[in-house]
Assembly symmetry: D2
């Protein structure tokens, strides 16, 4: 498997206390970093998940991989603010995500820089991600370069091929998401 | 405390296989009945619960009590259909409830006809209710007689006085609802 | 797929108010029945699920199928009492199950007598099952005829072949169980 | 209210990559730190919570306050390892905690250094704590100085006076814990 990772934050960060690239590189090998991740979904009028959105992204090596909405929580930022910021960053300002009323994630994914400690791998760091399923009701306009959102049915998203295409173990995270909303095939 | 109960279904039931009043009275003392309950809430743009809706209803004895959206699940009916039907019955057709993507309730309330077996009491029957927090985005127009919806802040809803006014132990259910969305005072 | 079903209760029922076979057959087609289901697991010292127990059972047609611990909730019986009773019935009195501190199930499975309404099918009835993952610490001694408990790793339990062998859609329920404890392959 | 905080780790840390006191003081004001918290409970044979354990501790100002089991997650450490380490640190090696099979917390508490952003306050840092209810089956022998464990009933733990005695907003966390296991008064 190619090296994978959780995406870096964009340059315009909300908090001036944040670290320089050099400091961040140092911290990444010394404490676990807190992330949020989101599986965007479309739901019908009764709340049933009808489709699931996956991101196509070029990773650091230029490989095209599938991934989920994901990003760091900044100093002084609430989990909801972080979740909203990363959803807007990856899906655009018109996605109108419905953040969950409950702050409890459906799953906690522990990414380690070496394989075998968990189902999740991030070669750059130890990251702990709180993961949420988030219905979106608006229009998707990915804002970052080389990024596309693909919508598929829950059955397609449950397949072994999609599982294998997701980076860093997120195939497992996606299945947990589908199971948590009762649509895992 | 006055006798309390979960409300009877309206006459126009979705399934013709349903029981006559006499049969129902018999079944009520012989098997547990399945209910859904909902705590309607308003949320802000980040999903934070900003207000909570409680129903005012006259019970069988003519006393005015507070209660939650509640009702039986019928034969052949999905939990989502039952939840939607009872929300519409109690809040009107323009409430636009956002049913949860996950079918897992935040709490399961076990109502017994005799006190002491659980925190919940229903003198008429043994009922097991799956309870959900449901954001509503539209206009509330209670359709049943003598029914009103009161909105209050999470702090007010957390108070001891509201706890005492809810029938059948639903004060405990309301607190569990507030805790599940992180706003219990 | 062969006809499937949730098992009948043993003759010695805890509550004399329970129905005759004839009455039960009638009720089954008129109201949803409440069930509990359990996925027995072994855990290590840190709570990680290391193996999963599935039942082998002959169904009404004499076919051998895999299933989970499952059974009705009786009138006047708490969910915990029902869960304990069915665990003891299927795993024997020395299994020492550790019932969860939380009464909230990891999943709610809705069984309908006709296919297509949900992932779950029970030709005899509409049943709603609250499902729990239950660590067992003792010795398994199945008490019912023609019943055996097979232990397997989470990876084996995640496989497509096991998924297909479980009756009534319980392959989906098993996957949801594995996902809820973070070990779905 | 007196200044409060989440406790510092003991000197003997599991990972040599960890920061010096000076580096830690710097990092604390620049990124959110990841914590685990635990509410130790006793359960009966059916899993019902019968008593709740709270810690008595002298905080940095020498005030005696109540708190929960709490501590940082180290680099390279799983959540389960961190939870077990802090339970052993606060309750002793013979407590025999039963870590949950599910890694999903019952609540996520966001501690900020300034009041008003959430229900939780930690003057030293921005900390995000994943909180778990953990049954313990053995003997409690607090190992740290000036630390005692007090057991009380769920009803006592639900009281307003206990709520007020817990530091940093953990009264709210305790109520959420009690609600999650169905015993909030």
């Amino acid at each position: 498997m190619s090296p994978v990772g959780t995406p870096d934050p964009p340059p315009e960060e909300p908090n001036s206390a944040w670290l320089t690239d050099e400091e961040l590189a140092d911290v990444r090998r010394r404490i676990p970093l807190l992330y949020v991740e989101a599986v965007p979904v479309r739901v019908d009028g009764l709340g049933v998940v009808t489709s699931v959105g996956l991101l196509l992204r070029a990773n650091a090596q230029g490989d095209i991989t599938r991934t989920l909405v994901s990003g760091r929580v900044m100093f002084g930022e609430t989990l909801r603010d972080a979740l909203f910021r990363h959803l807007e960053k990856d899906l655009g300002p018109m996605a109108f995500p419905q953040l969950p009323a409950s702050p409890v994630p459906f799953h906690v994914a522990e990414y380690f820089p070496i394989p075998g400690l968990s189902a999740y791998l991030d070669e750059r760091q130890h990251a702990v991600a709180l993961a949420y399923v988030v219905p979106v009701t608006g229009t998707i306009e990915p804002r970052q370069d080389a990024l596309e959102v693909t919508w598929m049915t829950p059955a397609e998203a449950s397949s072994a091929s999609i599982h294998a295409e997701l980076e860093g173990g997120r195939g497992t995270l996606l299945r947990a998401a589908l199971a948590s909303v009762g649509v895992l095939g």
